[in-house]
Amino acid sequence: MSKKSNIVWRLLRRNISVGQIAGYALANLVGLAIVLTAIQFYRDVTSVWDDEDSFISEDYIIISKKVSGLGSLMGGGGNATRFSEEELVDIASRPWARKVGRFNSAAFNVYAKVSFGGSSMGSDLFLESIPDDFFDVSPKGWDYEPGKSEFVPVIISKDYLSLYNFGFATSRGMPQVSEEVIGMVPLQFSLSGNGRQEWVNARIVGFSSRLNTIAVPEEFMDWANKEFSSAAPELPSRLIVMLDKPGDPEVESYLEEHDYETAGDRAANGKAAYFLSLVTSVVIAVGLVISLLAFFILLLSIYLLLQKNSEKINQLMQLGYSPRQVARYYHIIIICVNFAVLLVALAAMLTASHYWREPLSTLGVDPTAPWLTIGIGAGIVLLITAGNLTAVSRAVRKRFYV
């Protein structure tokens, strides 16, 4: 049977231009490799968004109102810098704001004391709390239950530690301390207000690079505010907002419009992420255009081949061969070429990703598995193949009647 089918194959494979097919394969290979590599690169780099403490973090911004010199001096309880309920609702309703958290500040006095070796030192302090979802760290011992927990867990900004270690300690000749050492230092908070005073134990359990504050659990804050303050809960003067899309330019214009300020350089990171997704889209688009052009090259090449073999194809059908039987041979060529292109493009993508994996992993980024990218590649090739096959079938059928 195989020998017999070779007769038709031998007839039809005449005029196949190896150069054209190779040209197509190369063009499609380049296009596909670009698309797949870009997708995989984007996925690998953005996988850091899943990491909490990462350089392109899922973007959070902390917004506050601008402090005008006079307003704060005139007093008025700082109401000018607080967000009203309407403003809160408005911010939360923006499409770019996925989640909005309030900074609750303590409505009582806090005095903190550190004692070691008989001597002690202390300072007045402020405390704030935000919902747990907004923390970039979730340290052990963060859970707090009023009356039951041994100590109040505290998270402070990493910047404070840096300030001490690299600014204060080096200039004063004092020892530098690590995060672990700080965690072991016993603290005592004196909470007072509403005619009452109480000492509680506290401990620094974590350091945040997102939050520029001294944070305690919301449970503690709620309890303490109730105990040591008679005033109604105050409106927040700082908000933390989880953005829907990093670096959305809408955010900036909104903040400008309402005269709000953002803290930290998160927005800059967000811009980097936004830029990355923009560049990736452009690269993917270029790759897709190349692939699309390649698709037409193959189509033209096959049309040309069909044209050259037009007489033979018609003759075969005159003998009783169905268009399907004739087209089958061209289908086999297309499937083989496209499949080979897919394999080589995937190999190229995997090889390329090998080169960026190491530098990325030193940044603490775990590269993603390539399955989705492979799936996308297979999908694109399937689409191209289906397009080619249909076009060939139609072209062959057209030659049925002279």
Partner: protein, 220 residues
């Protein structure tokens, strides 16, 4: 099984406007209300060149549709046949020898026959060799068809046409390039094959007529 091929008012479109001139005026086929070809009977259509005999064959075989009127196979208008139906007919119902033979010049004689026979699996290789021997071209079996003389090609094409079951054999000038002796050999072979299944034969000729035992002569 095809019993009848019927033509009703058939006229090639090239003759539109010249219905009252020859060759259409004198034709026994064109524009006639009903011409019937029946299974088991032989027809010889005699024509001068340019009267449309190859067109007639192409219409009946489903290769071309540039005609007015109706061609019916067992009462069904062939213009509505699907491509699949035509493929089936060309493998099982109607065998066709085109005037220009249409062999593949780059394939050998045997391959040219095999390319049809592998579709139908109708003849064994031994039977095909016997045909070749009978038509005195067995020694050319492995020679590319393009290197054969026209007369030899004609005989190869005849054998290829016979490599399928058929109810009608459509042969367009089958012996135009054959001498009288070969004409006789081809005629008896065709007659034998047709008799085996009770098939009908429609043959055309511009001069050299195939020497079938008995036939109805029609003038195109």
């Amino acid at each position: 099984m095809i019993e009848e091929i019927t033509m009703q008012h058939v006229l090639p479109r090239v003759f539109l406007g010249s219905e009252h001139e020859s060759p259409v005026k004198d034709s026994e086929l064109w524009l006639k209300p009903e011409v019937v070809f029946s299974r088991g009977r032989y027809y010889l259509i005699e024509a001068e060149s340019g009267t449309g005999k190859s067109s007639l064959c192409s219409y009946i075989y489903g290769l071309r549709r540039d005609y007015d009127g109706y061609i019916l196979i067992d009462g069904k208008d062939v213009k509505y046949f699907s491509i699949d139906r035509w493929c089936e007919l060309r493998r099982r119902g109607i065998a066709y020898l085109p005037q220009e033979m249409r062999l593949f010049p780059e394939l050998t004689v045997m391959e040219n026959i095999e390319i049809k026979n592998r579709l139908t699996s109708y003849k064994s290789e031994k039977e095909i060799m016997e045909f070749l021997e009978r038509l005195e071209i067995a020694h050319k079996a492995d020679v590319p068809a393009g290197r054969l003389s026209v007369g030899q090609q004609q005989r190869v094409a005849i054998i290829r046409a016979l490599c399928q079951p058929f109810d009608f054999l459509l042969i367009d000038e089958p012996v135009s390039h054959l001498d009288s002796r070969n004409n006789q050999i081809v005629a008896s072979l065709i007659d034998e094959e047709a008799k085996k299944t009770g098939a009908g034969i429609i043959a055309t000729s511009v001069g050299n007529k195939i020497q079938l035992p008995e036939y109805k002569l029609m003038r195109l």
